[in-house]
Amino acid sequence: MPRPVGWIVISVILVMACSAGRAGEPEQDERVGQIMEVVRTKGWIAYSARSDNGTWDLFLSRPDGSRSRNITNTSNYEEAAPRFSRDGKKLLYRQLAGGSTINHDRWGFQGRLVIAGPDGANPAVVDQDGQWSWATWSPDGKQIACLIPRGIQIVELATGRVVRSMDREGIYQQLFWSPDGQWFCGTANHLGTMWTVARMNIATGKLNVVHKFQSCTPDWFPDSKHVIFSSRPPGQTASRGYGWTQLWMADGEGTGSQLVYGEDGCHVYGGVLSPDGKYVLFTKSLRDGGGAERSGGTMCLMRFSDAPTIGGESKELREKHRHTKDGPVLELGQGWEPSWTYEEIGSTQ
């Protein structure tokens, strides 16, 4: 077999190993069907995915993958990383020039910030050329916080005015504001080490470590006391020691770290909780970084009560985590950076 063909075959097999059916097609597991039934009426998820026109667009679907529809449908732009405001009334996302490659690690700097209705209606560009990078909603949706090199800026959306600036204390990407408004979490440099998940007290500006070493993409649990994040623990043998990225959680103080989902053969990113904290959305992909540079990863949904769960054979991972629950995982098709609201969205009902 000619070498290029061989590589293509191997790549297809590997990609298939880390992907599954299209939105709404369950695995042959009765428990998956039960999850689908329950989550079908629990609001909407927004996510970015490649559309038929070849560019990244934003999509809405029910959390079981049904009723998926393209809400941006622009062939001249790439849209990515949608985030519902906590009340589900608005959606923020990044918009890049058509043909741009979304970088899994730099996306918060890329393009411009757009705020629209939750169904993508009335999109408004609210910054100039990446001025408000890594924007995250305040709990009431009236402000956003952004990361810029000189610090964190809190911006009042009604006026566009910066109402507070503070040191970023080494946080450099993936900033998220806690639902109770008291904390930020983000990926930081701390004590000479990069890729540390950290929490910042907004009142005092003080930083504490949540999880060190090869950890990133943190986000909040609804209780504002726990953080979900991706981590690639040391000591793995796969890929000459590079290993696989797993989904983890810890409390805000940095204690009680535990695996949420892992699967040898896949990198797991984009962890986000449902608004009531009962479900976890994430993406898994063969390529490190979540697949933003291509077509994303397989979006997955599991019950939080099933954590820790390990997917696939994952011999090495199972050796390290012997008491997993192996709960059902609903696979939702290709996408990237999903967000979940329990609010009903007017025109999509």
């Binding site: 890329q110 990361l147 080494g170 000479g192």
Partner: protein, 164 residues
Amino acid sequence: MMPAARPVKLRRHVSLLGLLLLAGVGCASCASQTDPGEDPEVTTRGSVEVTARLVEIRGEFPDNANYDYAFVMKYEVLQTHRGEVDSDVIYVGHYNPRKPRATVADQRARDIGGNLDQFRAGDVHRMALETPIDDYFMGGIVDKYFEEKSDAIYWAVWTNRVVE
């Protein structure tokens, strides 16, 4: 057969001429290799401009094309051209140091560059710098000197090769 011997005087002239030629070639060669690293970018960018010797690269540059980072390196300042540095020894963060400076700029670090292709301990660089690094660069920083220094880290805006 041995070559016929030249007259002594002629041989002396030829030898002298040869030496002069060699010296000339040598000087020309020296002149062409000496390079102070000066150009319109390094002399205008940043708030500090130095010529400094790269004393040490502590540890290895992470080899992962998926991730961006700045790597802190230790320099001995030989000459300050613009601005001020607090010490003869400074710590400079270089962005994605496995890449040539001419192609290193990207969305995370837009306005950086230079003509240096490769970092090697002992080499001399002419650099335009800013400080502190956090005001100019927002990304992962590998700082192997963290526990032994309290000085601010400089951010390398422009890095040119110097040939002494």
